[in-house]
């Protein structure tokens, strides 16, 4: 006898909605009230942001005061300050190109086809060199612009990217040293990692920006910007090292034994067997750390840099636009959102990609 098993028909969309939100009269009432509140709020928001808003800068601040909605003209009038900070006005195209080069570099290094040592080094080398050349100038007929004048989105991106470029390899080194068989190496590394992690980022930035110049010989001091980047890279690497180490602990000891039994050297085992698997385990936490670091770049304000948030303050803080701070912050929030959201979407893509062969 053959048995014919038929799955019950899947409920339609409408059926499902009814079951979830309108099962009892009370539930139906609550659903309707919530819906009304949501529609009301959405209407208010849209009305403020779009329907009653002023978009062009031509009318100046006065045009905004007459309108009931958002004053986007502040963005139209002041976007250059937000994106480029105090960078000289006529040279801001360089700052824009520098942003593009950093973004292109980041996007390229996210593409799996570029994940060979030579290609990634090429991408990063060209990207950072191009950024530096464009921003600093002094060659090829570009007027010189000192680091103290860099600002806005261009500075935020630069600090974030260099922090990761320095911090990530450092994190892997620290993680490997912490699992060293030599106790004096693993203990010292442990103390460094735990020490850095127990300090607030602000105090590290202060130390690198202001205290360090007194302790170092003159030729080693360098520009404040690079000291700050080093400080933030150190902070990043301390956290990331523990994430990588956690990923390594998820790789069974048998993996390294098998690699050893095949005659692989230490660096071959690390590079081909341990790290690829450890990074897969550590991926969600790593993306998290990147997102946190991106947002933490705003702390460099404290040591006198005009990254995007500080530039935003300057954009509305000049008297005539003083009332339009909500719009400026909304714009900056939107920029942060674009970057961070792309980052987490990319993380999700990587997880899907790496899930191949998991099971």
């Amino acid at each position: 006898m053959e048995m014919v098993v038929v799955a019950p028909p899947a409920p339609g969309k409408l059926e499902d909605l009814k079951r979830r939100f309108f099962a009892t009269p009370l539930q139906a009432l609550l659903s309707l009230i919530s819906l009304a509140i949501m529609v009301f709020l959405a209407w208010k928001l849209l009305n403020w942001a779009i329907f009653s808003a002023v978009f062009t800068a031509s009318g100046g601040p006065e045009a905004c005061e007459a309108a009931a909605g958002a004053c986007w003209s502040v963005i139209a009038a002041r976007w250059r300050i937000i994106l480029f900070g105090l960078y000289p006005f006529e040279e801001q195209w360089r700052s824009a190109l520098a942003c593009v080069s950093v973004v292109v570099m980041t996007v390229l290094s996210c593409i799996p086809a570029f994940w060979t040592g030579r290609r990634i080094a090429l991408v990063w080398g060209t990207g950072t060199a191009l950024y530096y050349l464009l921003m600093k100038g002094g060659v090829l007929g570009l007027p010189y612009v000192g680091e103290e004048a860099w600002g806005g989105l261009a500075l935020t991106l630069f600090i974030f990217v260099t922090t990761c470029l320095i911090g990530f390899p450092l994190a892997i080194c620290l993680a490997l040293m912490r699992r060293s068989e030599l106790p004096w190496i693993s203990r010292t590394t442990g103390i460094i990692i735990d020490g850095v992690r127990s300090l607030p980022l602000i105090s590290i930035l202060f130390t690198f920006a202001i205290v360090l110049p007194f302790a170092l010989p003159q030729w080693l001091v360098g520009d404040k910007l690079y000291r700050v980047i080093l400080g933030s890279a150190l902070f990043f690497s301390a956290y990331q090292a523990e994430i990588v180490r956690g990923g390594m602990q998820g790789v069974s000891a048998g993996q390294e034994e098998a690699a050893m039994a095949l005659g692989m050297s230490y660096w071959q085992r690390i590079g081909r067997i341990l790290l690829p698997q450890a990074m897969r385990n550590a991926l969600p936490a790593t993306i998290n750390q990147f997102v946190i670091s991106f947002k933490e770049t705003s702390l460099v304000v404290i040591v006198g840099f005009f990254e995007i948030l500080a530039s935003g303050n300057a954009a509305y803080g000049t008297g005539e636009w003083r009332f339009a701070y909500v719009e400026v912050y909304a714009f900056i929030a939107f920029i942060y959102f674009v970057f961070v959201f792309s980052l987490s979407r990319y993380g999700a893509f990587l997880e899907r990609r790496m899930a191949v062969g998991e099971r």
Binding site: Q255, R280, V356
Partner: protein, 253 residues
């Protein structure tokens, strides 16, 4: 570093008065064993008897604390070049397969020949496919280990070790983690290998396999080699009380 290819006439593995401690636990007590080329040795004994520890000392996954191990004419000491040289010549198959899960079967088989032996990729792939044929899973080359059954994974692991063209193969309980219906497919591959003259040292409880292919069966207990005999003698005429007790437990049902 071709020092391992010296002395073609000597024994494949020569172990003398081997001592191994884990902390204060004395895992191996003055173990001595000599294995000739093309000889097939089966090592058995109750768990904790030191049999795995002993074969893991042969390719230095464990460091011995006393005594002397000579593999293919090279003595194992702290010299890293010696260790790497020996590991290239000694293949190992593990209880839990230990395939690299982030690589396809083919990549698992080619990575060591390519990066350790510096074989050209195309040649390594040809060799890999030949060995996959030999372990009877040529169609799985592009799959990931996680997509295979336990028996298939263990056969891939054997092929992976063979791709390095080793002179000696170590098997550390290769069938203990397998479902019963998959044991014979792995043992069949090992029997074929034995018939081709591979030097093999197998830690296993598969007494049927021992009877069929072993030149000598070694029984270990408490970190010592208790008995060493050809299979017929070992299974039928053992004089040792501990051996007889162990055999009755393994065979007695």
């Amino acid at each position: 570093m071709t020092s391992t290819s010296s002395k073609p006439g000597g024994p494949a593995v020569h172990i003398e008065n081997l001592d191994k401690y884990y902390g204060t636990f004395h895992a191996l007590r003055k173990v001595s064993l000599s294995v000739e080329r093309s000889e097939r040795i089966v090592v058995c004994g109750p768990s904790g008897s030191g049999k795995s520890t002993m074969i893991r000392c042969i390719n230095r996954l464990e460091q011995h604390n006393g005594g002397k191990i000579t593999v293919l004419g090279t003595e194992l000491n702290d010299d890293v070049a010696n260790i790497d040289g020996i590991r290239r010549e000694v293949g190992m198959v593990f209880q839990h397969f230990n395939l690299f899960p982030h690589m396809t079967v083919l990549e698992n088989l080619t990575i060591a020949p390519v990066i350790v032996r510096k074989v050209a990729r195309a040649e390594a792939e040809a060799t890999a496919r030949r060995y996959l044929e030999k372990v009877r899973i040529p169609e799985q080359a592009m799959k990931f280990p996680g997509q295979l059954s336990g028996g298939q994974q263990q056969r891939v692991a054997i092929a992976r070790a063979l791709c390095m063209q080793p002179q000696i193969m170590l098997f550390d309980e290769p069938t203990s983690a397998l479902d019963p219906e998959m044991i014979s497919e792995v043992l069949d591959v090992m029997v074929t290998l034995a018939s081709e003259g591979m030097t093999m040292i197998c830690v296993t409880h598969e007494m049927g396999f021992a009877r069929r292919v072993a030149d000598r069966v070694i029984f270990m207990d408490g970190g010592e080699i208790v008995e060493e005999a050809p299979p017929e003698e070992f299974f039928t005429a053992s004089r040792n009380e501990r051996t007889r007790q162990f055999l009755s437990q393994v065979l007695g049902h």
